[in-house]
Amino acid sequence: MKPRTALSLVAAAAFGLAPLALPGWVMFLLTLALAKSVVVLAIALLLRGGLVSFGHGMFFAAGAYTVGLVMKWFGLQEALILTALGVLVSAGVAALLGLIIARYRGIFFAMLNMAISMVVYALLLKLYWVTGGTDGIGIRTPTILGMTPDRQNLRLVMYYFTLVLTLPAFYAVDRFWNSPLGFMLRAVRDNEVRVEYMGSSVARVIYASYIVSGALGGLSGILTGFSVGHIVPELAYWTTSGEFVFVAVLGGAASIPGPLVGSIAFEFLKSYASKYAAYTWQMTLGIAMLLIILFMPTGLWTIYDLLTRQVRSWRPSSKPAR
């Protein structure tokens, strides 16, 4: 078995057994971190194509609000159906917006995403008779495969529900990177001219990747909504989107575990930092992001990478790391 596969299985097992060893509040933070790591993954996906979106809050909100509204209006309770619907809607939104957005790069891409997400925010806020305005929408406990989790086990059930949907998302993206489209996206970042001179359409590659990214963003919003139990228009605000970008940079966009590691680190950091000066939170993020970009561009995951290389170089029998 390849070391990577072994590592993934160990990680999955660790996550699976975590509730046995960790206290309730840690499990809750972990649930949130897992849920949000999926949208960070979505950002990382686009980052590998050389694109940064400052507006993914809109997909996050699209997924969450689809679930909230469908639960409210149609009384649908089944978590899996709701999740599927939410992902479909956010993928649809990405497919629609992507028609315009996929033609742009760089700052245009970033700002268009930001601008449109702010419009979504404004709509969620102003159309209060539909969306509940600033009050948002409460998300009641869903049923999972028809069964309603009881109050005692709710947190535990939500953790596993989130885990069961998050890990496959990471796996899927890992496969994506090995697929033709995944390589094309990296090729686009390296050399758009060559991609076109291979007969492929850069715009189509970006469009397809944007839809995948939007769907992931929606899934993340849905999982977060279920865990927190309440959704608000702020999910689409630029600060939310900015946080996603930050975490992607923090964890490292070039690796698969990066977004997961970054998300977990971030949730815990945030819960500590929110106790202290609210005046310096953004500045801390900004400085941290600058330091990472300038000195450790591949994020926290670099530390793991460096460690493993060092360990490998110590073992006399193994080949030098590539």
Binding site: P180, L181, V193, E196, G199, S200
Partner: protein, 246 residues
């Protein structure tokens, strides 16, 4: 011999400067044509126009009888014209093999597939076959950034070749390649192209390469083609010698 690529009165200016002026040439299928001329004579602009990277101010471009003047590079490539670049255009963050795999996937129309590995056994084998003639197969799993300059150039050419075009335009394919390798590679390349019936057009500064491999050369000077014929004949012309060698 049927004409496969033809330009009619092709003209392009930048600002007030005429880069390519009223160029009309017809290239026959399977010909091996060299394009020579001093720097700034319009050679690369010509290639850019023919492959759709630039839009001409006037004139037309025909490929196998079809008018491709307004087509973007993507379309032109799909129709069967591939090119390599003066400054190699490759995917720097990927390995040599991955570069070729992508080209193959693109050619096979699979570029947008988000599942299944890019690197299948069949495709890898084909990629290695593409890299062989360029002595790059042994470097297959190295990142491109580790290749020497000549290797990068050859990879660029290999990528164009991987697309199995009918017409191959090469912009200074041997510049930066060591003299030892130059002829070995050109030998193999020209042989393979002949086997496959590919029409080759290459821009070159190295006169030895041109005289050895081109059946016909076009001499560009200040945007126009001032001579067109067999290398031995054309290069004897004093006008041409003055323009090209200066």
């Amino acid at each position: 011999m049927a004409t496969i690529l033809e330009t009619r009165a092709l003209t392009k200016s930048f600002g007030g400067v005429l880069a390519v002026g009223d160029v009309s040439v017809a290239i026959g299928e399977r010909e091996v044509v060299g394009i020579v001329g001093s720097n700034g004579a319009g050679k690369t602009t010509f290639v850019n126009l023919v492959t759709g990277y630039l839009k001409p101010d006037r004139g037309r471009i025909l490929y196998a009888g079809q008018d491709i003047t307004a087509h973007p590079p993507r379309e032109v490539t799909r129709l069967g014209i591939a090119r390599s670049f003066q400054i190699p255009q490759i995917y720097l963050s990927l390995t040599v093999l991955e570069n070729v795999l992508i080209a193959l996937a693109a050619r096979q129309g699979e570029g947008l597939r988000p599942w299944g590995p890019l690197s299948t056994r069949a495709r890898e084998a084909e990629a290695l076959k593409v890299l062989e003639p360029f002595r790059l197969a042994e470097h297959a799993s190295r990142p491109v950034s580790e290749l020497p300059e000549g290797g990068v150039k050859l990879l660029d050419v290999a990528l164009a070749g991987a697309l199995m075009p009918r017409v191959l335009l090469l912009d200074e394919p041997t510049s930066g390649v060591s003299s030892k390798e130059k002829f070995a590679v050109m030998d193999t390349l020209v042989r393979i192209l002949a086997e496959r019936g590919v029409t080759a057009i290459f821009v070159e500064h190295d006169m030895e390469v041109v005289t050895q491999y081109a059946e016909r050369i076009l001499v560009f000077h200040e945007g126009s083609v001032i001579a067109d014929g067999a290398p031995q004949v054309v290069l004897e012309d004093p006008e041409v010698r003055k323009a090209v060698i200066g």
